[in-house]
Symmetry: C2
Subunit: 278 residues, 2 copies
């Protein structure tokens, strides 16, 4: 089994410690020796994009990813145009933050639709427009397959295989994929698809969260702290290592129990769990 990764590879996604403001996150990471974070658009916008970028720079924090673009499955012209504009804004924000990866949550089925294949094609149409725009700004679009339980209302891309089928229609410098253990841990095809992503230079981000049950209503906030569930993180790290991935390992957990605790305590625990399990 591989050794624990150095703390320098840990990136803490801000949603893991949602109770913290951006300055609290910057200060907390400095205290704990964490040098990278993943950010979300809404809190960054609320704080101010340029101001957030300055805060990160001055705190010596690298922004490894911005969440999220996507939601490209609408059929109606106006909604679609809005989605494309919003993705261009997300790319600009990623560039301003110095984040080289914009995570895409592709979108679910439009109301009343049962056409998964059609929705996936509209994602491809969107990527064709957004890929060059992103490349010009040195941002890579990273399709994140979400667990199949989100297929109807959040993301019709449910597996790494599907994500790569989409990504491979475009240059790797424009479109790749995210491997998030929470979404793909159950999939016996994931190992082969991780190798495929690595071989194609499309493994743009690696995120960790554990799978715990029972799932809460709505299932969005059911992620577990590393080690609390049944995901074999070391096995996944071995797979991404073997695929040539040497980038940040981002911990992204949505869990109300974590949000109710002291942020510093959650960050310390996350760093410890990272050393033990990642």
């Amino acid at each position: 089994m591989s050794a624990a990764p150095p703390l320098s590879r840990l990136s803490v996604n801000q949603e893991t410690i949602k109770q913290w403001s951006l300055p609290e996150l910057a200060e907390g990471c400095a205290k704990e020796g964490v040098t990278s974070v993943g950010l979300w658009r809404a809190p960054v916008q609320a704080y101010g994009v340029e101001r957030a970028a300055r805060l990160m720079r001055e705190s010596g924090l690298a922004v490894t990813s911005l969440c999220r673009g996507g939601f490209l499955t609408d059929t109606a012209g106006a909604a679609r145009a809005r989605a494309l504009d919003d993705n261009r804004a997300a790319i600009d924000e990623a560039a301003a933050l110095g984040a080289d990866t914009l995570v895409l949550v592709s979108g679910g089925l439009p109301p009343g639709s049962k056409d998964l294949a059609g929705a996936r094609e509209r994602i491809a149409d969107g990527l064709a427009l957004l890929g060059p725009y992103a490349e010009e700004r040195s941002v890579r679009l990273a399709i994140e397959p979400l667990h199949p339980m989100f297929a109807s209302d959040r993301c019709v891309v449910s597996t790494l295989g599907q994500a790569l089928d989409l990504a491979e229609r475009f240059p790797a410098r424009q479109v790749g994929v995210v491997v998030d253990t929470y979404h793909v841990w159950w999939d016996d095809q994931a190992p082969a698809q991780i190798a495929r992503a690595g071989a194609g230079g499309r493994l743009h981000a690696f995120q960790l969260a554990d799978w715990i049950t029972p799932l809460p209503a709505g299932v969005l906030l059911g992620r577990g702290q590393l080690g609390d569930g049944c995901v074999d993180f070391r096995a996944f790290r071995d797979l991404v290592d073997a695929a040539g991935y040497d980038g940040p390992i981002e911990v992204e957990i949505f869990n109300e129990a974590l949000w109710e605790r002291d942020g510093g305590e959650v960050l310390r625990e996350t760093a410890e769990r990272f050393r033990t399990h990642a």
Copy 2:
């Protein structure tokens, strides 16, 4: 698009109208012209297996499937021996009811385990013991892949592909698969795997339930009445038709809102939805 299937192909799983006793189910089906049912072991055992078999015979109802055997992933010797005994009892009960198909829910990860591949191998070990026992009693074991959201706590077999990888180690007259739209609707590999199941004579049961959101806590009772969600049932029926399946089409919905309504009304609605959507 195909025509609506005749009502003679509808089988109503008793859990869809859980508020009904077995005699109420028999009477209600007679009134509605429904000629087949799927049964569950607990209510059948509570009523008495032989007595239930007689009631079904006297009511002219075919029992198209019995739920459920399985839970074959335990590692401990005693738990494993109990699981095998319980599966033999389930096979005997299916035979007594004249049901040719025993649905298997394979089991989740044992407590503390992260080894999905190992759990899947223990299912194979169990099937090797149970297959011949089932065949002697003219019962087919049907592996039901459950949605990946159940992979940790209920069923480590998450896709039709995985189910067939397991089933194909055994004769088709012993082990096949269940296609339940609720569990596989999201999977772009399902069409190819349905064809594979049909070609191998392993498509042993076809079940319908719709996918609706938001999912309730625990996610077990989140299934929707046909037409209330985003599953394209006619597309799935075309796939099983093309795979040579001409057996019963079983509606199996676990939904507390349906259970609170009048059973006769739910059965009528189910038959109507079947004609419109199946």
